[in-house]
Amino acid sequence: MSAPNHRWLHTQLPQWEREGLITAENAVTLRKRHPFDESGPGIAQVAMGVLGALLIGVGLIAIIGYNWDHFTRPIRLLFAFAPLLGAQVFSWWALKQGDACARWIRETAAFFQAMTAGASIAIVSQIYNLGGDWPEFLLAWALLSLPLTWVMRSHAVVIFYLVCITVWSLHESSRHPAWHESARAYPLLLLGLFPFWPGWKFDQPLSTTLRWAVALSASIGLAAASYQMVDHPWSDFEVAAWMWSLTAAMMTLLPLSEAGVHASTRQKPQVVFGFLYLLGFGIVATFLDVGRDLTEAIHQAMKLPWTWLLIIVTIAFAVHAAIQRRWAVLSVASLTLTPMLALMTGEKAASVLPWLMTLHLSLIGITLILIEFLDRKGAPRLGAALLSVLIMARLFESDLSLLMKGIAFIVVGVAFLVFNIVLSRRHKKGKEKVS
């Protein structure tokens, strides 16, 4: 349960006690189980502090950008180093305060220090007319700020770091021979956050906002890394596309705690991003002319060590997911394996793949609907949407006349709406039974 939910629960408990819904003991148990520190700062307070530090930092960089060339070099350097020293003293003071330091002060100090560190390297490169493009500058800035995430536990600096490494990894579109100068270094950069999350004892929590930030950055950064692993990514785009499906499967299957398995989808952005890519990939792979390109792409991808690393990690995660009985997640993640299954048919693989993928997606769609009707938690609307998209894809590819395609689209649309109505009535009846 997230902090806003805890806050809501704590505001409701006194009323529930008064109404006799729960006993005083129950209320104490619930307060202990879902603790909420009301003395802590609100998100607005933290945001205002970080915004203040951001504005000061950007202001400093803008002043540096003006280029005060009528001052001597030492004086210009002082412009950047004096704020850096001030920020470091501020952070040091906040660090020494320990738990007594309010979170918004800690966040402000850390973020301000990160900004002033960037300002100091900016002014040096300006004074000496140093080359290098701005993504390289961003990377240097991010690396100098990274340790602040470990010691100051600053969420703002984590987001700043993630933005920097993601933008940097996207910068190089063509394959760069030096791995450390390209997106292939992204996994290592992401691992840099390890002491912050999950921590050496795997006990550091991650807020919902940071989960989304990490998941988004990892999706983009790992995709860029895979793209850079391919020798000729522009001409062999399908190789990267299949490697992305492995990455999406790996993210979807990321091991979770028992509480994490039962948490809401909002708490698991990696599953959302993974599902979106895998379902999109699966639907594209159902088109007949994609089969040949994709089967050839897999042959090429299998020659790359990065592919094997992805496969090994995905298998390990899949075993863990099977132990946890995360069947829905496993069924969608397995879409990445369907092209490999098609390869087993030998020369017919290119023509078998689209039909095998259609069958796989259809089974997922039907299963998502059926388990709902077996009184278990399903996703009937997602299942119905998946089946509808599959039918439309097949119609789109068929040689039927526009008239027939149009009628078929209308029939599918009506069926989808009727299904939605039936489902809504079923839910309504279910709620009436409970009450």
Binding site: I61, I64, G65, Y66, N67, W68, D69, H70, L77, A80, F81, L84, Q88, S91, W92, L95, Q113, A117, G118, S120, I121, A122, I123, V124, S125, Q126, I127, Y128, N129, L130, G131, W134, F137, A140, L144, P147, L148, W150, V151, M152, H176, P177, A178
Partner: protein, 183 residues
């Protein structure tokens, strides 16, 4: 273990000072001890959102002849020797992948080779400007880039590193010319 965050913080703070200070140390050395070379330029004028206005300085020479039998692999760092001509302008005379034992040289990124010529990136590419002088510099650059004498970049070179010290036209420093124009 309680002191670990303090130690990490101290190392971070030192690194945040060390990164710019090491650059200052290196490039001050180049400026004070380096050999002065003059290179003819051609350039447009872009803008860096993080570090302010600058003139993109692009020396005319971007290719270096490859020695017989040498293949220039793509995206590799190499050394180019500098020769100064009778007109006082520097040219890049040869490429090697081992550090030259004598003479002035630059440590550069080699991109590709074609027709026994390797394409290189110069280790400097921008000249930062005061924001108020930048519009005047735009005009000055546009007016003079086709001047037969051309705009000359004065560069200090030491141990393969280079610092762009000034831009000149007819031997007159760039900033002086701009100050005169602004008046």
């Amino acid at each position: 273990m309680k002191s670990l965050p303090i130690i990490i913080f101290a190392i971070t703070a030192l690194a945040q000072w060390g990164a710019p200070l090491s650059q200052i140390w290196t490039y001050e050395g180049v400026l004070t001890k380096g050999t002065l070379i003059r290179v003819k330029c051609a350039a447009p004028d872009p803008y860096d959102p993080l570090r302010g206005r600058y003139l993109a300085v692009r020396p005319e020479q971007t290719n270096v002849p490859l020695p017989e039998g040498m293949e220039a692999p793509d995206e590799q760092m190499g050394y180019v020797s500098i020769t100064t001509g009778a007109d006082g302008l520097a040219t890049l005379s040869s490429l090697s992948f081992t550090k030259p034992t004598s003479g002035d040289y630059l440590y550069v990124r080699v991109h590709s080779s074609y027709d026994r010529q390797a394409s290189i990136d110069w280790p400097f590419e921008r000249y930062y400007l005061n924001e108020e002088l930048a519009p005047e510099a735009d005009e000055w650059f546009a007016e003079n880039i086709r001047n037969t004498k051309g705009i000359i970049a004065e560069v200090r070179v030491l141990n393969g590193r280079a610092v762009l010290a000034d831009l000149t036209l007819d031997g007159k420093p760039f900033r002086e010319i701009l100050q005169d124009r602004v008046k």
